[in-house]
């Protein structure tokens, strides 16, 4: 008997689907556990014990788990199929040449805008961060805010996305901090302008990941996930468009964060080989299930390039736009970007956006923390 854990997906039907996949596996019985609540914390704690899952999904925070030997190397399970997976996402699961997780389906974030509201205000979809700031200001009325990037003003939901839009990155290819640059402060200062202009929707009952504020007309533009697209499409018909985060500065480029829940195997499990075989069967061999999982419950992109290319539903309309953003502008959190670095940058961004703190000084603090963390994980 293998035990497999999933976090609680919001889309209806996922739980039944994953149980159906597990039942179809012939070589072992698989018990699927659906875990509501703070899933990442549950996994982190369960991996310390012998009663955790054999197979589980996880996103982020895995470098210390890999270094502590809690996760099994899946390089041989994924085998030659590795080349067919989205390489940006696969890189976030690769440590010292070994792959520790099989990407299940790709999620991405993007900017939704209400076409009718922009047209009424005589505004074109923003093509730069400056245009986004100006559009949000112009679209704000006593009842409708211009932009919703999360109840905290964007520090959590946007995270490092504006830095990528400024042509920077969190960590460079040679493993150094990639945003120790004056343009980072300039870009983050513009997020402060959005907040100070009172163009941002704050304190919505449902946060950025849910499209309710956008579909209810509380905001003209919202940063949310691709997963929300079917719901928005149903609620608003054709009255919306999608954009990546707009570029900023001379080296700017559009930015679209992508990420994936990946299937992993616990090294504390009693049947590691059986667990690896099951992970391979489900997320490498059974491309029909991968297709069903990505596209039948909300909208996600298949983790396999070949599946994305052959899927008709991703060739037209907004879904095709999203595929293009993910391919051309997609970036993912690097494996060496640890939780402490993430918190340091997010705290700095919150202070810049909400308190009006000096962006350069705040970023300098985050750079120091990130460097210390890089030194720690290098050791």
């Amino acid at each position: 008997m293998l035990s497999q854990w999933y976090h609680q997906y919001g889309e209806p039907g996922v739980q039944q689907a994953v149980k159906r996949y597990a039942r179809a596996y012939q070589r072992a019985r698989v018990s699927v556990q659906w875990r509501p609540g703070d899933y990442d914390q549950q996994i982190a704690t369960a991996l310390l014990t012998d009663v955790g899952p054999d197979v589980f999904e996880s996103v982020g925070g895995t470098l210390d788990q890999i270094r502590a030997g809690q996760i099994v190397d899946l390089t041989d399970a994924i085998g030659s199929a590795a080349a067919d997976f989205n390489q940006t996402v696969l890189a976030t699961m690769t440590y010292r040449g070994k792959i520790y997780g099989i990407p299940q389906a790709i999620d991405m974030q993007l900017l939704y805008y209400r076409k009718s509201m922009l047209a009424a205000a005589g505004i074109h979809p923003p093509a730069s961060l400056d245009e986004l700031v100006a559009a949000a200001r112009a679209l704000t009325t006593p009842d409708v805010k211009g932009l919703f990037v999360g109840n905290d003003g964007g520090a959590g939901a946007l995270g490092p996305t504006p830095l990528y839009a400024a042509g920077l990155e969190l960590l460079t290819a040679d493993g150094a901090v990639g945003f120790d640059d004056p343009s980072a402060a300039v870009t983050l200062g513009k997020l402060r302008t959005l907040y100070a202009d009172q163009s941002l929707l704050l304190g919505a009952p449902l946060d950025w990941s849910n499209p309710a504020a956008f579909t209810q007309g509380l905001t003209a533009m919202q940063w949310s996930g691709l997963w929300a697209l079917p719901h928005i499409s149903k609620a608003l018909g054709d009255d919306f468009g999608v954009l990546p985060f707009p570029p900023d500065g001379a080296r700017g480029r559009p930015a679209a964060p992508i990420g994936a829940y990946c299937c992993m195997v616990s090294s504390r499990g009693r049947q590691i080989q059986a667990a690896k075989a099951y992970a391979k069967w489900l997320w490498v061999d059974r491309t029909d299930y991968q297709q069903d999982f990505a596209l039948s419950y909300g909208l996600h992109l298949p983790a396999r390039i070949s599946l994305t290319l052959q899927e008709n539903r991703l060739r037209t309309g907004m879904a095709a736009e999203a595929v293009r953003f993910a391919t051309e502008h997609g970036w993912a959190l690097p494996l060496r970007w640890t939780d402490r670095s993430r918190v340091a940058l997010q705290d700095a961004m919150t202070r810049i956006i909400q308190d009006g703190a000096d962006p350069a000084a705040e970023l300098a603090g985050a750079v120091l923390t990130a460097r210390a963390e890089l030194d720690r994980v290098r050791g």
């Binding site: 982190a44 310390l48 939901a157 304190g203 402490r340």
Partner: protein, 297 residues
């Protein structure tokens, strides 16, 4: 004699075992972890001496969390004390409907912190135009306010403090009512003969001093409860990406450092030990200043 020993252990044994297993063992384990690099492990091998203590004391987020906690305690303890005493005095003077008001004010105590925080966050103090407080403000010509996202002025404190006052005041009111009921009426009769009628003077010279024992108990309980503050902070201010860098009490800091994705149990344990020492000092100072344990005439 042997029989008495047997019964002693039958009655106290389960509690002693519970205390050892769930308090003393984790305490000693935590103390041990605080001297190790314990990323993602509870059985670490890499001894780091006092490095975790140095790191946690140098971390501005931790020192800020201690500041948050002191600020919160300095406000919430006197505020809850005054409100619950005020309610008790009002209810005590009621001739009719006393049991009714007593129940009404006590009822919130039965509500969970999590549920109350969600109601405060999603309904009463949400930041959009249909939030309860914002609807009232707009009816009077005001505009919508993002209560939990405004740091200048720090409006989030209003939300945090009101939810705790609502939840706690009724319970401490009952403690004060018990104290008031036990008070001998002849003291007031004697005061009336001396010319001190009901009102401020008899409160100042009779009621308040007579409530000393209750007051000390209430203040101690309130302080301990402020130390344990977590639920309403977490449920009001956390989001799927973490917790903002303001109004972050030590337990929330430690939760994210040790139990969140960070899983740095060494830092978490060092922080917990520092916090325990702070609480110990605080409690000793408070006990000394209340002259707790001394005999009073």
């Amino acid at each position: 004699m042997q029989r008495r020993h047997l019964w002693f252990w039958i009655f106290t044994g389960p509690f002693v075992i519970g205390l050892v297993v769930f308090s003393y063992v984790p305490l000693i384990w935590s103390l041990t972890l605080s001297f190790f690099d314990a990323h993602n492990t509870v059985t670490p091998k890499n001894f780091v001496g006092l490095a975790n203590y140095a790191a946690v004391l140098k971390d501005p987020a931790f020192t800020a969390s201690l500041g948050t906690f002191v600020l919160f305690t300095l406000f919430i303890v006197p505020a809850t004390y005054a409100l619950s005493l005020g309610l008790a005095l009002l209810v005590h003077r009621q001739k009719f409907g006393r049991a009714f008001f007593q129940s009404v004010f006590f009822l919130p105590t039965a509500c969970s912190y999590v549920v109350a925080s969600l109601i405060w966050r999603l309904s009463i103090f949400n930041g959009v135009r249909f939030g309860l407080v914002n609807s009232v403000a707009r009816a009077f010509g005001g505009s919508s306010v993002a209560w939990l996202s405004t740091t200048h002025p720090p409006l989030y404190w209003l939300v945090i403090v009101t939810v705790r006052l609502w939840l706690q005041a009724g319970f401490y009111m009952v403690l004060f009512l018990t104290g008031l009921t036990r008070m001998p009426t002849m003291l007031y009769e004697a005061a009336a003969l001396d010319g001190a009628g009901p009102g401020w003077r008899s409160f100042r010279h009779i009621t308040f001093p007579q409530l000393r024992t209750t007051s000390v108990a209430v203040l101690l309980l309130l302080t301990i409860s402020a130390f344990q503050a977590f639920d309403e902070f977490y449920n009001l201010l956390s989001n799927s990406r973490g917790y903002p860098p303001y109004a972050r009490p030590p337990l929330v800091y430690l939760y994210y450092a040790a139990l969140g994705q960070g899983q740095d149990l060494g830092i978490g344990s060092a922080g917990a030990i520092v916090l325990a020492l702070v609480i110990a000092v605080f409690t000793i100072v408070q006990a000394r200043s209340f002259r707790l344990g001394e005999k009073h005439p």
